[in-house]
Subunit: 752 residues, 2 copies
C-alpha cells in the first residue's frame, strides 16, 4: 500500500503553528494532543512510572502483533473466544495507537490500520449477534454495550493514525465502519442510547468520541444531548427490569451526568458501576475538554465529574476494594484500569491534588497520555501526600436529596462501617434500605453479598447475570437490614422502590470517640417506620473500637421481623441452646428465603444474645438485647440452587414475632486475634458485660452499655425531634438526663 507521508515528517510542523489550527483538524487531539506528545517524547526515559508503564504496554502490544490479528465471526457470550478476542482487539488497538505516537515506530500504525480494515471489511455485512438475550443486541458482541466499548477505544486508535492514513483510507473507514457503527449504537438502538443508565453513557461516549475525531458535529450533538425523537414508549424495560424510557427525562451525555450523580459525586448505581461508567465519562470529557473547551465539561454541575473520582476512591475498604453496594462483583478495586485513567484525569484536570499521587503510586501504572505523564512526574518529584480515608456522608440523587451512603471509619481503617440509606440505584439497585456492612482493615466482618454473577466466566451463564441475582442477591434478606413478614422492601417491586428513598436524620463525626449516624425509612413497608442509628465508639481502654446498632421499628400492626447478621468465618460460641434439625429445609418460598436453609435454631436463655465468631484469625462478638419472643436462627445459603450459583455463606438471624413497635439493640465488636502458628488466642472474649434498653417510647430510646471493667455508657436518642437545637430531658430510674440535639451520651466510670 502506498503511504503518502510518514508520521515523522508530519511532526516537523512547529508546535506554535499547531495551536492556531482548527481544533477538529488536529490529530491526535482527542486524548493525546500534538503538543502533549511532543512533550512526552522529549522526556521519555526520565519519568520512571511512565517509562515502566510504557515498557509493559509495548511488550504486550508487541506480543499481539506477533500473534497476528484475528477478527472472528461473533458467536459467544462474554468469557467465550469471540467475545474475549474482540475485546482484546480494541484494547490492543488503542495501545498500539499510543505507541505509534510516543515511539514513532510505524509498525504500530500498520497494526492499527490493518485491524481497522479487517473490521471495515466485515462490518457492513455483519448481522446482529446470534445470542438473543440482550434488550439491545450488538454486532461484534452480544450486547450494544460491548460494541460501544469497542468504539470508545477504536476512536482513540483512529485519532492516533488519522494523519498517517491517506484521505482515501479515512473515507473508507468512516463510510463503511465508523459512521454505520455510530448510527447502529444510536438511531438504530434508541432503547440502548437514549436512557439514563451506564449503558447509555458508553453509547454516548462512543458516538461522541468518533464524532470528535471525524469532525462530525451532528454525532457530537447526538452524544451530548441524545436523540430528539427516539420513538420509545414511556415505561419500556430492559432485560434486567430497568426503565428504558421515563417520561420527560432528557438523554445524552449531559443528562447521564446530571441524573445519576449527586452533588457529592455519588453515582446512584453504586461504586462498582460508578467505576465502570467513570471511564467513558472521563475519557469523553477529556476529549471534549481538548476539542470543545467552550463546553466547560469539567466545571459542569460544580465540577461533579472530577469530584466523583475522589468519592469513588473513598467508597473502598482498606485494601482498595469497592464496597459491593447493589449489583457489584467483589474484588473490584481502585487498582482497575478504569481507576488508573480516572485518577490521572482527575489529577491533571482537577487542581493537581497531591493525595491522588499517593493512589497513583500504589496503582503502579499510569495512562499513557498527558494526564498520566503529569501524574508520573508528580510521583517522581516526591510531591505525593497520603490519601487518608476518613468518615464521610455522601448524598444520593441529582440534587442530593434522595438519601445517601454514610461511612464511619476508625483510625487507619481498622474499623469501617458502611450504611446505605440511598435511593433505588436504577436497575442495578438492591432492596436493602438501612443496610450495613462492616470491615476490619480490608476484611469483611458483616458482608453485603454483592451480585450473583461470574463476570466473563463463560461457564456460568455466559458470564452474565444469573437468575439468582434477582431471586437472591437483590432481596432484602440477603442484606444486613430488617425484613418484615418475610417480604422484601417495596415487595421487591422496582417501580415502587424507584419512587422512594430513605432520609438522613443526622450524621455527626465531630467527636472521634463517638461517631454517629441515623437514617429513617418510611416507605419500604407501608405502615411501618424503620429508623436505624449506628454509633462507632473508640474504646478508652485501648482495645478495638465497636459499633452500637439501634434499629427502631414503629408499626401499628403486629409483624414478624427478621434482622440478619451476615457474619464471615466460623461460629465459636453462642448462648443459645440450638437444635440442629435432622433435615434442612428452605426457610420460605420467595423473597430470597427459598435460597436459605435453616441450619439450627433456638431461644436465648439470658436477656442478652452473645454470639462469638472467628474470621481471618480474628474474634468478633455480637451482643444483642433479646426478648422472650425472639428466635435465633442460623441460616445458610444453598437451597434451590442446583447449579451452585450462590456461595454457601451464613447468617445469624434475630427473629421477633407478633410485634408492633420494637427496638433491636446490638453491639458489634471486634476484640481479639488468633495465630495458628503460635496457637495463641488474644482477647478471645467480649468486653460487653451488660446491654439493656432502659427506656423506649416514641420520644426517646435509651440504652445502657456496661463493659467488663464496670464502665457504663448511657446512649439516648431523641426520636421525636432530632433538630440540633431542641432541648430534651428524660428521667430514667434515679437519674435525670438533660441535653440538646438529636442524641446524648453519658459516661459513668466504674465505682460511680
Amino acid at each position: 500500500m502506498h503511504r503518502a507521508r510518514t508520521a515523522k515528517t508530519l511532526l516537523l510542523i512547529p508546535a506554535l503553528l499547531l495551536s492556531s489550527m482548527s481544533a477538529s483538524a488536529e490529530h491526535p487531539g482527542l486524548v493525546l494532543t500534538r503538543a502533549g506528545v511532543q512533550q512526552i517524547r522529549s522526556e521519555l526515559g526520565r519519568v520512571p512510572l511512565f517509562d515502566a508503564t510504557l515498557e509493559v504496554v509495548r511488550t504486550e502490544v508487541d506480543a499481539e502483533i506477533v500473534s497476528g490479528i484475528d477478527t472472528p465471526i461473533p458467536k459467544d457470550f462474554s468469557g467465550g473466544y469471540t467475545h474475549e478476542r474482540h475485546k482484546r482487539n480494541f484494547f490492543a488497538m488503542q495501545k498500539a495507537g499510543v505507541l505509534f505516537q510516543l515511539l514513532e515506530d510505524e509498525k504500530y500504525a500498520v497494526y492499527v490500520r490493518d485491524m481497522l480494515f479487517q473490521y471495515e471489511a466485515m462490518y457492513k455485512d455483519l448481522p446482529l449477534h446470534p445470542q438473543t438475550r440482550s434488550y439491545a443486541r450488538g454486532k461484534l458482541f452480544w450486547q450494544c454495550l460491548n460494541d460501544a466499548n469497542w468504539l470508545v477505544y477504536a476512536s482513540q486508535a483512529y485519532d492516533t493514525i488519522y494523519d498517517w492514513l491517506s484521505e482515501e483510507e479515512r473515507e473508507r473507514l468512516e463510510t463503511n465502519l465508523f459512521r454505520p457503527f455510530a448510527d447502529f449504537l444510536s438511531v438504530e438502538n434508541p432503547q440502548f442510547f437514549n436512557r439514563v443508565h451506564n449503558h447509555s453513557t458508553w453509547g454516548n461516549a462512543a458516538v461522541g468520541m468518533i464524532g470528535l475525531v471525524m469532525g462530525d458535529d451532528e454525532l457530537v450533538r447526538r452524544a451530548l444531548y441524545g436523540l430528539e425523537d427516539d420513538g420509545l414508549a414511556a415505561g419500556a424495560r430492559d432485560d434486567d427490569g430497568g426503565y428504558i424510557k421515563v417520561e420527560g427525562q432528557a438523554a445524552g451525555f449531559f443528562a447521564n451526568l446530571e441524573e445519576p450523580f449527586s452533588p457529592d459525586g455519588y453515582y446512584t448505581e453504586g461504586p462498582y458501576y460508578q467505576r465502570y461508567a467513570m471511564y467513558p465519562f472521563l475519557i469523553f470529557a477529556q476529549g471534549l475538554h481538548n476539542l470543545r473547551p467552550e463546553l466547560g465539561v469539567f466545571e459542569h454541575k460544580d465540577g461533579v465529574l472530577l469530584k466523583a473520582v475522589g468519592t469513588l476512591l473513598t467508597l473502598s475498604d482498606a485494601d482498595g476494594e469497592f464496597f459491593p453496594l447493589n449489583d457489584a462483583q467483589k474484588g473490584m478495586s481502585i487498582y482497575s484500569r478504569e481507576l488508573v485513567t480516572a485518577v490521572d484525569i482527575a489529577y491533571h484536570n482537577g487542581g493537581r491534588d497531591p493525595r491522588l499521587l499517593d493512589v497513583a503510586g500504589r496503582q503502579a501504572r499510569v495512562s499513557l497520555d498527558e494526564a498520566g505523564f503529569a501524574v508520573a512526574r508528580g510521583v517522581r518529584d516526591g510531591i505525593a501526600r497520603p490519601f487518608v480515608k476518613t468518615s464521610v456522608n455522601l448524598s444520593d440523587g441529582p440534587n442530593g436529596r434522595q438519601g445517601g451512603v454514610a461511612i464511619l471509619r476508625h483510625g487507619d481503617e481498622d474499623l469501617t462501617l458502611v450504611f446505605k440509606y440511598a435511593a433505588q440505584g436504577l436497575s442495578h439497585g438492591h432492596y436493602d434500605k438501612l443496610s450495613i456492612s462492616l470491615y476490619e482493615q480490608g476484611d469483611e466482618i458483616l458482608q453485603d453479598y454483592g451480585l450473583a454473577r461470574f463476570v466473563n466466566i463463560e461457564q456460568k451463564g455466559g458470564g452474565n447475570y444469573l437468575p439468582e441475582n434477582a431471586t437472591w442477591a437483590k432481596q432484602t434478606i440477603a442484606h444486613n437490614t430488617l425484613t418484615q413478614n418475610m417480604t422484601s422492601h417495596f415487595s421487591g417491586d422496582y417501580d415502587i422502590g424507584s419512587r422512594h428513598h430513605s432520609d438522613l436524620v443526622f450524621f455527626d463525626v465531630s467527636d472521634e470517640n463517638m461517631q454517629i449516624v441515623s437514617a429513617i425509612e418510611s416507605n419500604a413497608y407501608p405502615g411501618t417506620v424503620m429508623r436505624r442509628t449506628l454509633a462507632m465508639f473508640n474504646d478508652p481502654g485501648g482495645r478495638k473500637p465497636f459499633v452500637l446498632d439501634v434499629f427502631k421499628v414503629t408499626s401499628s400492626e403486629e409483624n414478624q421481623y427478621d434482622l440478619p447478621f451476615w457474619f464471615m468465618g466460623q461460629v465459636l460460641d453462642v448462648n443459645v441452646d440450638a437444635d440442629s434439625p435432622g433435615e434442612l429445609r428452605a426457610m420460605g418460598r420467595e423473597y430470597g428465603y427459598q435460597h436459605l436453609y435453616l441450619e439450627a435454631s433456638g431461644q436465648v436463655s439470658d436477656p442478652i444474645l452473645r454470639f462469638l465468631f472467628m474470621a481471618n484469625g480474628r474474634f468478633y462478638t455480637i451482643t444483642s438485647v433479646a426478648g422472650e419472643r425472639d428466635d435465633i436462627l442460623f441460616a445458610r445459603i444453598g437451597a434451590n440452587d442446583p447449579a451452585f450459583n450462590l456461595r454457601r455463606d451464613a447468617a445469624l438471624v434475630l427473629r421477633r414475632k407478633a410485634t408492633g413497635n420494637t427496638v433491636f439493640v446490638s453491639v458489634i465488636e471486634p476484640h481479639g486475634s488468633y495465630d495458628p502458628v503460635s496457637e495463641r488466642a488474644e482477647n478471645a472474649t467480649s468486653r460487653i458485660a451488660e446491654l439493656a434498653v432502659i427506656h423506649d417510647d416514641a420520644r426517646y430510646t435509651a440504652i445502657s452499655l456496661v463493659d467488663t471493667q464496670g464502665y457504663e455508657r448511657i446512649v439516648i436518642l431523641s426520636n421525636a425531634d432530632s433538630t440540633p437545637t431542641a432541648v430534651h430531658c428524660l428521667a430514667v430510674g434515679d437519674a435525670t438526663y438533660r441535653w440538646t440535639g438529636p442524641y446524648h451520651v453519658a459516661e459513668i466510670s466504674a465505682g460511680n
Copy 2:
C-alpha cells in the same frame, strides 16, 4: 536476700579451665554453655539476626517484669486464664534466664528466682488440677503434658541462674519443687511417662533436663530408658483411645526416638505432632550432647534426629505450612518457635547445611543460644543456599517398612501432591489409607480436613479435641480416598488399624516430565485390595502440570465404593443433571456420613465426568471416567453439628454401586486463573479432550488420555508383576506395547 557472688565474677574463670571441669558442675551447661555465652557476648551488636531477636525478647521480658509475676491457683482448660498465665510464665522464665546470661543484668536473675520461689511455695500443697478430663492430670495444668512443658523450660531457666543462687536456695528449689515435680511426671504418672508417644517425649525431656541441671544421674537414667517397673497393664488406653502400654515395648527417650521415627526421619504421628515433639527431642538432645557427649545422641540411629528436621521442612507446602496429615491444625508452619529451635540445632550440630540458613532467614529469628548464634552468623555472612523442596518418598515405621508418605512436586512447588500410604500413626492417626491432597503453590486444591479442634480457644471445648474429631475428622470419608460400603478403613478400629500399613509398589521421579508413585492397601477392607497410582505430568504445551489418578479395586464381593474429591472453592460447571433435593438429609448414620448433607446428586450423561471449580482465583477441572452405575453426589459437611464445630466444606463424591473389581481413573488439572480486577478469565477450560480405560484386568490397566490438541498418552500399569526387570507385552486394539518394569507411557502426537 544475700547474694554470695555475682554472675560477673563467675565468668572470669578461663574457658580452658571450664572444659576440664565435671560437665554436671558447669552452669550454664545444658543449652547455653559458659564458653558459648562468652563468645556470644563478645560479638553482640555485630550479628544482625541474633541482635534483632535478642531485642525482641528483651522487650517482651521487660514487659513481663513490669507487669509482675502471677502464679494463679490452677483452674482452667487451655485458652483459659490460669492455663495461659502459667504457660506465659515458663516461656518468660526461660527467656529471662538467657537474658541474664547474655546481658549480665541481674534483674533477669531476680525475676527467674522470684518466679521459681513462688512456684516452690505453692507446689508442695498443690492438689491435682480440678479439670478431670485427662488420663494423666497435671497440677499446674489440666494434663501432665503441659506440666512437662513447664519443666522443660524451667530447667533451662534454673540452669542459667544456678551459680547465681545460694546453695541453700538451690536446695530449697530442688527439694520442694524440682524433684517432686520430676517424680510426679514419672513414677507417679507412669501412664504418661512410660509410653511411646509425644506426651512421653515431653515427660522424658522434662525429667532428663532437670536431672542434668541438678546433676541427678538417676533422673537422667529414668528419662533415657523409662521406668523399669511401671505397674501398667498391657492394653491400657488414654482418653484419645491410644495405647498406654504395649507388651514388650521399651520406654524412655531412646525408645521414643527409636519407635516413631523412620530411618528417613518421618515421625509416624505426622508433621503437626512431629513439630510439637521436635522441641523436647532436640532441646534435650542438645543438653545430652553438651553434658553426656559419650551418648552420641545426635549420631543415634544413623543421625535420625537431625535428619528429621530436614524431613519436617519438606513436609510443608510452598508457604511453609505443614501438610495436615492425621490430627493437625491447619496453618501450623515452619515459622513456629519449635522449628526455629529445630533448624538452628540442626545447622549447628549437623554439618552446617547452608540451605538451612535460607529457612532461618525466612524465619527471621533465631534461638538465643550457640546454635542460633551460629545460624545468625551464617546468615550475616551470606553463605545461605536456597532450600528447594523436591519430590521425595518418606518411609514410615521404625525400620522404614510400614508404608510411607510420598510427595510429588512440580517446578517451584507450583503443583504438590501428597500421597499417604503410611502406618496408623498412633492415637493421632486417621483412617485414610492411600489418601491424597493437592496444592497449587501454598493453596489447597484438594484438602485433607485436618483435626476438629480449636487449639487454645477456650470457648470451643476448652481448646481440646472436640467430639467431631473422632466422629468426623478421623473417618475415611473425610479424606480423598476410597470408602467401601460407607464404612471406614479397619471399621475405624484403632487396634486393627494399628496392626497394618500400606505398602509402596514403586516411586519413580527420575523423569521430571512424568513422576509416578504407586502403593497398595490390602487390609483396610478384608477381601478387598486397593491400589492407587498417581502420575504428575508436565505439560509439553507449557501449560500447568496435571495429575493422573488410577485407583484400582479388586474384590470378590460386590460393594459400594465412594471416592470423594474434597475440592476447595466454588462449583462452576459439571456435566451432571443434578437434582437439588427439597430437603437436605444426613447421608448416613456413622463413619462420618452422619455429618454430611447430600446437596445435590445426579448421573453423568457422557462417559466422562467433567467438573470445573474455582478456588483462590484459579480454575481446576476433574475429569473422571464414569460408568452407568456411577452416581455423582455433592456432599457438604454440617449435619449433626449443632455447635458448628465443623467447617462447611464440600466434596464431589463418585459413587459406584454393586461392583466387585473396578478402576477409578481421573485427571486432576489446574488450568487457569481469574482476576476480579481486570475481570479476565485465562484458560478457563480443561485441556483434556478424552479419557478412557482401554484395558483393565488383573495383569494390566491401560489408560488413554487425549488433550485438546490431539496429543495422546497411553499409560499402562503392570498390575501383577511390578518388579523393575519384568518384561511385558500388551495388545490393545491395533497396537502392541512392549516394556520393562512396573509401568509404561507411550506418547502419540496429533496426526499419528
